[in-house]
Symmetry: C2
Subunit: 216 residues, 2 copies
DNA sequence: GTACCATTTCAATAGGCGTTGAAAATCTTC
DNA sequence: GAAGATTTTCAACGCCTATTGAAATGGTAC
């Protein structure tokens, strides 16, 4: 009898500390479990990549049971897709950057990239981690970069060796993303956007327009 | 009785097909299990990264039991460390590249990088995969890049904003490595070394010596 | 040739993973 | 306020993981 009372009062009087076990059943309205899971997923996938991240770990960070991942997203993969789903259309941004004065196209491209990545840091971080750790994801990303970016640029700017040029641009942008968002390499990580644009735009412009003389 | 004979002949007459079960005990000398494990580990870690790669998978590719990983390397982590252990001293290469005519230092740096990565493709691929999927590995790599590369360069070349300049160089080299070795982005993946040097060396040279006018 | 040692496979261990179903608790609707 | 639907936790499942110890086998030294 005393045992039952003790356990009951334990449950009822426990404050909301980190080790506290939640009561079962539907939570009071106002707490959005789905949103909490999405936010936690973005963080954890960004830190660890898809494979290393665990459903249990994400749920714990969200302060929620792991079974909620299945209830709201149908599973781990569904949660990942929902978390990285871009809230904007990248192709529109790319089109806007490409059209316009060809002499300053590099500046627009790098500005679009850094602005987008700075705003959705965790999202792109999660994408990068997933790409680097997963062969099929890398292939998907490579095909996207090639068709949605490289081909578009080469169609617009009429130069020789178009694919070599744009893959060089891609390498600089990927490296910038790795250094600034994944490796947190200072001072590049904290440099303001205009400094980054001023330093890297000439590189892209050269890759796009310079004469290529050596064989290859 | 017939059963026993059948099973015996099975074991004795089975050719060395893929599904064949090996006999126990010490193998005939000449086959180097340790080396086979190292080679397989380099491949699999390069393809999947440390966490996703499995001891069983590596052992299977090496044609050996998973327990051999513990016997020879003490465990999964030991095998990884043994596999990525560089057979050359990177600091010596970096020193050699940095010393010499400052006007062509960029050319030497990029040549050393591409030559080394081309030769040890799987090794660097494994490193990259591990970095991208693991926070502490990323921190280790960042500190190495900073202390062994950036600080060395800034000490040798006397310019302002030395750390920003060298982190920009690092971003281009990292991006080149990702594109050429991890993402397999054509035509950069297959471009010959001299083409890569000719295209990227001016970028590094500019990052190292150009005037930086904008604020940051 | 026999005892010993190094090498290898097999079987079993404990632990983590994603996922599932039932029970509990709240909200909504009538 | 009672009935039903929705949300949540708990407990358990099956699977896969790295690791370990015992048994088996080939080589080696005497």
């Amino acid at each position: 009898m005393a045992d039952v009372v003790e356990r009951l009062t334990d449950k009822l009087t426990d404050s909301e500390g980190p080790g506290t076990r939640r009561r079962r059943g539907r939570r009071p309205s106002g707490e959005d479990t789905r949103a909490a899971l999405l936010a936690a997923a973005l963080e954890v996938f960004g830190e660890q990549g898809f494979d290393s991240a665990t459903v249990r770990g994400i749920a714990t960070r969200a302060g929620v049971d792991a079974a909620m991942v299945n209830h709201w997203f149908g599973g781990k993969r569904g949660l990942f897709l929902a978390a990285i789903q871009a809230p904007f259309d990248p192709t529109a941004l790319i089109d806007a950057a490409i059209s316009g004065d060809p002499d300053t196209v590099a500046e627009r491209i790098i500005r679009v990239f850094v602005t987008a990545w700075d705003t959705h840091r965790s999202r792109f971080r999660a994408l990068m981690r997933n790409i680097a750790g997963n062969d099929s994801a890398a292939a998907t990303m490579r095909d996207f970069v090639f068709n949605a970016v490289i081909r578009r640029v080469t169609d617009t700017i009429g130069v020789d060796r178009a694919e070599l040029r744009t893959s060089l641009c891609a390498s600089q942008l990927i490296g910038l993303g790795m250094a600034r968002y994944v490796l947190d390499l200072e001072p590049l990580m904290s440099a303001d956007i205009e400094t980054v644009v001023a330093m890297i735009a000439p590189t892209l412009q050269r890759y796009l327009t310079a004469d290529i003389t050596s064989a290859g």
